[in-house]
Amino acid sequence: MSTAPNAERGDAPRQLRGRGGLLVPLVVAIVCTLVVIGMVGMEVPPETTFPGPRFFPTILVVAGYALSILLVVHYLRHPDEEATETQYRTYSDWPAFAWVAGSFLAFAVLLDVLGWILAAGLLFWGVARGVGSKRPLFDVSVALLLSSLIYLVFAAGLGVTLPSGLLGGM
């Protein structure tokens, strides 16, 4: 990884480009804050002696905040070069991301209602769509075939409990 010598001198409209990396320190800071909140509200049994349950997390929180500051500095000084590519407006293909993550979200929420075969079929179809499959109707059959096959092998064959959902009532 080599940094172009001029990368730091982005002109005005590009100031915000390539700063997406700041999300990383943000996440770290949020996690640390959650830990702090958790430590304040923690009920420690009274007979606990030093070092108690707060000892180790305290070290982590200090390290975590320090690292997130260092990360902010890092990402400000080294903006993302890849984001400066001109062919697309964003480096990442966000619709594809939304399809994959959204399908999984739907799967998680609907699994108990729809049952494995339908929910997993939906998941397969959504991800295939997101990754760029061009034949939605054909995908439906592939998706249902695979989810039914898994149901047969794992639920009937290996004894894994999978919800039957809607189809179970039929």
Binding site: V24, T48, L60, G130
Partner: protein, 502 residues
Amino acid sequence: MDQLQLLLEGFAGALTPMNLLWVLLGCLIGTAVGVLPGLGSSMAVALLLPMTFALDPTAAFILFAGVYFGGLFGDSTMGILMNTPGQASAIASTFEGHAMAKAGRAPQALAIAAIGAFLGGIVSAVAVTFAAPALAEFAANFGPAEFFALALLAFGAISSVVADSVVKGLTSLVLGLVLATVGVDPISGAERFTFGSMYLFDGVSLVVVVVGMLALGEVLKVATRIHRDPKPEQLGAPGSRKFLSKREFKDAAPAWARGAGIGLPFGVIPVGGAEVPTFLSYDVERRLDRRRRDPQFGKGAPRGLAGPEAAGNATTGMAMGALLALGLPVSATAAIMLAAFRQYGIQPGPLLFDTSADLVWPLLASFFIAMVVLLLINLPFAQLWAKLLLIPPPYLYAGIVVFCGLGIYATSPSMFDLLFFLGIGCLAFLMRRYAVPVAPLLIGMVLGPLAETSMRDALLGSNGDYSVFVAGPIPIVLYVLLLVVVAFKVRQVVVTRSRRDV
């Protein structure tokens, strides 16, 4: 020869028809996943982790051994044929391997890689068989201070070596350690960071984190780039000659030996697996090559492929030894194996060879069997594996996500865990996108409890006196090792800057 006796008994345990079937299945799955573009061996192991809980422990670990090594064979196959190594440890063998394939010597390159991986694996299996029990015996007198030093060494090494920036490595490590603190504190019994949720009472499930980090995060990353990155080109013309000539074999032989020698010690050094030794071996071969009368590097040098291949597998095999004897995972893949052991209530470490001998020796025996099986299915058929590329990528990735969902639901059937899994996947995507390594997070999560309890036990035992950490000779040696690793990293950073004078 106690070990030989035990190993033979292990073979007797492993050589049942059912267990042979598991080895074969593991080797096939591992190779297949390794071959598929963008999927590495650690993802194969992660995906399979929840699937195996329906099996008995011995069968499950034998299956794992097959996948663990099979993935490595597959990783390099794709590196050679398409210049897309499945995993960082296969990059070094890609350079000359792909150059050989471009020169029409693909079958020879695949054969050299397969034999190299086989030899490295066998050498390490022998080393593990004889060294691991001794290592375990040595580690049996480790107290809290020693274990804390060991964990610290692992943390320091993995976060400084894996990433290009130490800050990113440490960030990943801290996130992993935080995840590990969730749940009931084993020493005081206090509930930590559960925010009242009963799902977090037992802590964050390691399976959820491992599969989310390695499988879902990877698919998300691929999905956002698949239409934008240039497609790797497949090599059309297969070589005319199918087999390795005697001369080529003789040419590669010393490189195999050197590679295995370089790879072995790295199995017990926690620097994130086989990436460092493979590059080291590549560099050694490259420098030696220039002194020969007819230098081959750049044009497809068999030695440049043979060395790293043998080194990679020697490290990976030896890493299992470190895992079994010390409970120390040196790479992401080893961390997953540790998670698998825990799931069965087995704690790898010094006591394992006493308490679970009936599991350990068949497992070690199955390493040998897996190596032979892998050589048999890779040496003649490596080109056939490339046919797996005919699976359309959308179906491939969709299938992986469905299997993730299946695995998570099978281990912990709750909507909470599925949603948590999605969150981990998004975090993994963010980390991959901004070049934060995921291996330190996994190592931190796996070793976090060990680090915390041994640290607090040591302090409890000494009434809060911090000098307990440097009281014995072993911790001091381990801290010195840590300093060496850090010094090495610092030197590396300075050198790349000041070495440039051209």
